[in-house]
Symmetry: C2
């Protein structure tokens, strides 16, 4: 399916190339204002700031809403024509010379995980606005329109970009997000319209290309002192809600050998996930990040535990194989402990390779700026994996110090952020010229 | 220490015996109204009722407050003079013939664990009120005053009876209870006065005896078809809040071999607790009933986990030995996983033997009613363990069907509840006559 997409993308770009020759003058485009971008990052980090550093700007929260208001202000200041679509995604348009051409799309997201950092999503969102601002200030008018997008609820499961694919189901709209609101209420809270999601749909070919700047969130670029990561693809991410049912009973009067302790079974499950994922070579990862025991009192044997399971790899078949082995382990634990395990799929994102031509443009752009590059996969999911299904898509990574992300001390150095925004700017100019 | 207490108790009872001879006429006292007691249990179960059965009437909640209002109404209807002490314990007094004598005290609690059952605490509280009502209806006036007590917040850690011992600390008053309120705010919410706890204090010798009727919460009486359990002692209960610190990081970009996953370490801890407790012979139990991972998102490696640890045994030295072994195991897990474990004691209840004379009176009372008895320990903690330090104390158990407790399908049969209340009535009459 992705191979077929790549053929489509090639046609799109070739069709574009017929319209006019590369504008070599654009290669001398001005550079972004790194200090301003750094200041904007600091200002955005005020929304949802935590005492211990970083932010809890979970999607659909008041902090999220306020952060988005701030960002829309920046977009208007950059001369962009701002609108919020039915999926609560923010779009800001800069006109091109030829309104009949498919626009380019750049952007990222501004929501965070609970107790997250100041760079994940923010760098790409504010970097894209900085690119638009730089184009405006330098009087550079591209052939194509340029849209800057800030996707809604990326961290909860790419809800904004999946709304743009027309894929949000009623079941998902009814799910409760980390904000405490349902997805439906959250979209409405941010100014979207969950009853008119069809209007948010982006058709295949509607955009000439999508490019997302992001922090790596892993330690490869930082460890190897590489300036820019050119993303070869985004791993598949499957998540399940796992429910372990045992039997709640009094912790003082129930002998050890007569218990059906759901938390003891869940503990064995957590260990099994780790053991299974590490039992085969490769870069796959598996995580249990959330857990709750019910009723949840120190003097009651847990009768039920609900926890999450997440598996990631560039190869969908490997994820399936790992899941099958985890299930087999949980069957054995259930049998041994008098409990039952049920797995409810909550997120299913197939691996998404980026477009080879966009990849090449990014690498060339970086080289033209004197920056070193490395081709690498994205272990994290991104809205780019959704856009890859409707537009030629690329991703630009900048280093994360120590590989730390989704944590308060997440950090990308100002110079690296500036480099990333300049590569994004140069990539936009080059894609426009194709 | 407990041996010394028993000598004190003996003196108290002997002193009482000097006042007058046993009133043998009292042995012909009327019996309780089992149908009414059953109806009262059903009525109380409406407060905090859960759709799946049972109640969540956690201490200091609105359901708890309403349940107590209902119970105070029953006490007044039984002719008791009702007051709420500074620790939010409800006392209802029935006058005796000699106001100079130390009163007898009977009662239990009406709060529940989250998702608990309809019998734990309720049987003893309503059973004690039924005893008072029966005395009133039959015109039986005891020598001694009789107090019926409903202790506050038993399930959270015997807060009401410990307030009566003058043992609640400022630290404990500041703890957040299952209701969401601090203990201090909760006591005030129920009509107590946390700033005047000294007034709630019960001095040693103030009561001639304390007797608590309760469901067994274990399966021994039900399995062996015994009518009445005579409790030989209450196990010691130690609880800790255990914090595991690892390092929160992105679940997609952090390789498996570079994680410091606090939940994986906590899972190993949960297994270790079970293994250690089962590694030695005896009736000791150990439980992890509550767990939370932070930040608690499916796509973030947990950086911190907070869970509970509880150990119970009739022998304090064994609890200490088990805890030392659990700590040694956690040290090994910490070293292996790059995490740290800290243990904060939250509850420390030493084992409490009941008074041998009160035990004998209960056994004799049961036999006089044609009921079978068995001497057994209480694996559950009770307010009786606190009262055992200031008054000769006994406990009467009635069977729990299937040994199920702290769960919605907790059940004690109406006939067994009636038997228990009759044994309590007969015990009161006999103690009064000593």
């Amino acid at each position: 399916m992705h191979r077929m997409h790549r053929r489509d993308f090639a046609r799109t770009l070739l069709a574009a190339a017929v319209v006019g020759p590369p504008r070599l003058s654009a290669l001398a485009a001005p550079r972004v204002n790194g200090a301003r971008l750094d200041a904007h990052l600091a200002e955005l980090s005020a929304f949802g700031r935590n005492p211990q550093g970083g932010v809890s700007r979970v999607a659909y929260s008041e902090a999220d809403r306020q952060g988005r208001e701030y960002v829309m202000g920046l977009m208007r200041a950059a001369g962009l024509d701002v609108r919020v679509d039915a999926g609560a995604n923010i779009f800001g348009r800069r006109k091109g010379r030829d309104a009949s051409l498919a626009p380019l799309l750049i952007g990222s997201h501004t929501d965070s995980v609970p107790e997250g950092g100041n760079y994940d999503g923010a760098v790409g969102s504010l970097g894209a606005i900085e690119v638009a601002q730089t184009l405006a200030e330098s009087g550079t008018v591209l052939r194509r329109p340029l849209d800057v997008v800030v996707w809604s609820n990326e961290e909860g499961g790419l809800y904004g970009s999946r709304a743009a694919l027309g894929e949000l189901t009623d079941r998902e709209l009814a799910l409760t997000s980390n904000s405490g609101k349902t997805v439906r209420d959250g979209i409405r809270f941010l100014g979207g319209n969950p009853d008119d999601l069809a209007s948010a749909r982006i058709a295949k070919g509607a955009y000439a290309a999508y490019v997302e700047l992001h922090i790596e969130q892993g330690g490869t670029l930082d460890r190897e002192h590489v300036d820019i990561g050119v993303v070869e693809g985004i791993v598949g991410i499957d998540q399940w809600e796992v429910t372990v049912e045992g039997f709640a009973n009094h912790a003082g009067t129930t002998p050890m050998d007569q218990r059906r302790d759901a938390l003891l079974a869940a503990a064995r499950f957590v260990e099994a996930v780790n053991r299974v994922v590490r039992s085969v070579p490769g870069r796959q990862v598996g995580t249990v990040g959330r857990i709750q025991a019910f009723p949840g009192a120190p003097n009651v044997i847990p009768g039920r535990v609900v926890c999450s399971l997440e598996l990631r790899d560039l190869d969908a078949a490997k994820i399936r194989m790992l899941f099958d082995r985890v299930r087999a382990e949980s069957d054995a634990i259930a049998k041994d402990s008098g409990t039952t395990f049920t797995f409810r799929p909550t997120v299913e994102n197939v691996p998404a390779p980026t477009d080879p031509r966009v990849r090449q443009v990014i690498a060339d752009a970086a080289k033209s700026l004197g920056l070193t590059t490395k081709l690498l996969p994205s272990g994290a999911g991104h809205d780019a994996q959704d856009m890859a299904r409707v537009a030629p898509t690329g991703m630009i990574f900048v280093p994360s110090v120590g590989g730390i992300s989704h944590a308060p001390n997440e950090l990308s150095r100002p110079k690296d952020v500036e480099n990333g925004a300049n590569v994004l700017l140069e990539t936009v100019v080059r894609l426009d010229a194709l």
